[in-house]
Amino acid sequence: MLAKRIQPMVSQARRLYVELMFQVMGRALQAVSEVDDAVKKETQALPAGFLFEMMVMPNGPRLIVEHTGLGRLHYHGASAPRPVDLSIQFKHIAHAFLVLSFQEKTAVAFANDRMLVDGDISYAVRMTRVLNRLESFILPKLIAERAVKEYPSNLHLPHKLISAVRIYLKVATNFVETVRA
């Protein structure tokens, strides 16, 4: 009986969390593409105007970023200006929650059939690496190790701290800008 009443709250909380994480990630993707060379190297290979989406099936939360050129990513929020080029789709909000709460690594989620790729698989491989890099930047090492296949060895603490601060700052300003706008 209690379960019946609690369930909607749990699923609403889960949905809110996923929506919030998508926003944080969208902004962080934009920020990290401006400060991190390893990410830039990956994103530079994407065509300019390339739209990347992560979403929850069938019509759940989504995050859209665009490669505007020279490796820079631009966060579009939850709506795309035109049909997307690459979409990573979680089969269920519960699976998105597992990944975005860092209980299941992105690569493991792919391996476990939690999500689908619609679009060029080589771009999906690239974006997975970008997401891994992002996760290891914005999370404390302990959690990041759980979220990515391998914690990058070239991510030393001072560098990480400096970069993370810059990313957090950028995320924060972006949040403020959005609120103002």
Partner: protein, 395 residues
Amino acid sequence: MTQKYYEFFCPVKVIAGKSALEHIPYELTGLAAKRPMIVTDKGVRAAGLLDPVIAACEESGLEIVTIYDDVPPDSSTTVVRDIAGIYRQEKCDSIIAVGGGSAIDTGKAVNILVSEGGDDIAKYSGAGVIKHPLKPFFVVPTTAGTGSEVTSVAVITDEAKGVKLPFTSSFLLPNAAIIDPRMTLTLPPHITAATAMDAMTHAVEAFTCMAKNPLSDAYATAAVKKVSRSLLSVMDNPKDVDGRLELAQASTMAGIAFSNSMVGLVHALGHATGAICHLPHGLCMSLYLPYVLEYNLETIREPLGDLLLSLEGPEVFSATPAARRAEASISALRKLRDQLHKRCQLPRTLKETGKVSEDQRNQIAEMALDDGAIMFNPKEVSLEDARAVLQRAWA
């Protein structure tokens, strides 16, 4: 609560063994198919491999309506459209693909067009585009390696755009795979070796990569055991019917394993090398396998050690201390490669291929990093890592 989750799917009826081809008419009739078309290539026809298929059907009063025998090694959208045209013109109602990877992929793509309609196969490219079951489709593999008879993928080249179009749908899976040892009896030694090593690699990668699961593990270990036991004896005695059947079954089992649990870095490097240096897929697999296992070693120590039982049998397994088994598995594979090199000069290093220049290695590394298979490799691979593996594989 366990964090493990997996999916496993293989609805293909496997018809295997002596006189398997003679089951085709019965199986077709069971699906109400009366007018089959054969899709194959010139090599298969020249080797006389169609004769037993046609005879098996005719003896049961089932007429093969038409035969398309001009599938190229890299099938294209034009070829697919042409074959679909013939299928419609001849009012066929089913497809039998006889051949290796290319003929099978072509058969899958033709089936999409003749079932879904239209002339533009590119329209159906991607994952999950096809929503309905297709026409009755049978596959008779003539190589023992690709496992395409049990995979839900087809790759067709779009010549005009110069891109490879992938098609994925469980509806691409054939209704039945017919494994008859007569089909692989005349495979030349170097193709026998390379394709068997492709099957071996499918099994080893399925067993050691990220998406491994208990069901695919069972298929993978059984496939490794069959290849280990039969490959060299078939190399020494090509007419060994039982050995040939073992290899053909191993290929199908490895196909079932990897189509459910994916492959890893060996395939990523192999796909890139195939595209850049035009080396056969199986050869690349055999070449890279031990070097990639060495690279992955610390992340796959346990499963790789377990494989020693399938590779070398119970005596060697129990005589090897648990801590040394993973290395012993790699040695077993190296030993097998040395034997194959002795028998048919199957290259073990990039240098031995004589077809790869040192500066192509960078290109291979970069291209491998974009390959979908790299996503399932148990260890994260950077450009430097890929270069290092290629360096080790050089000589």
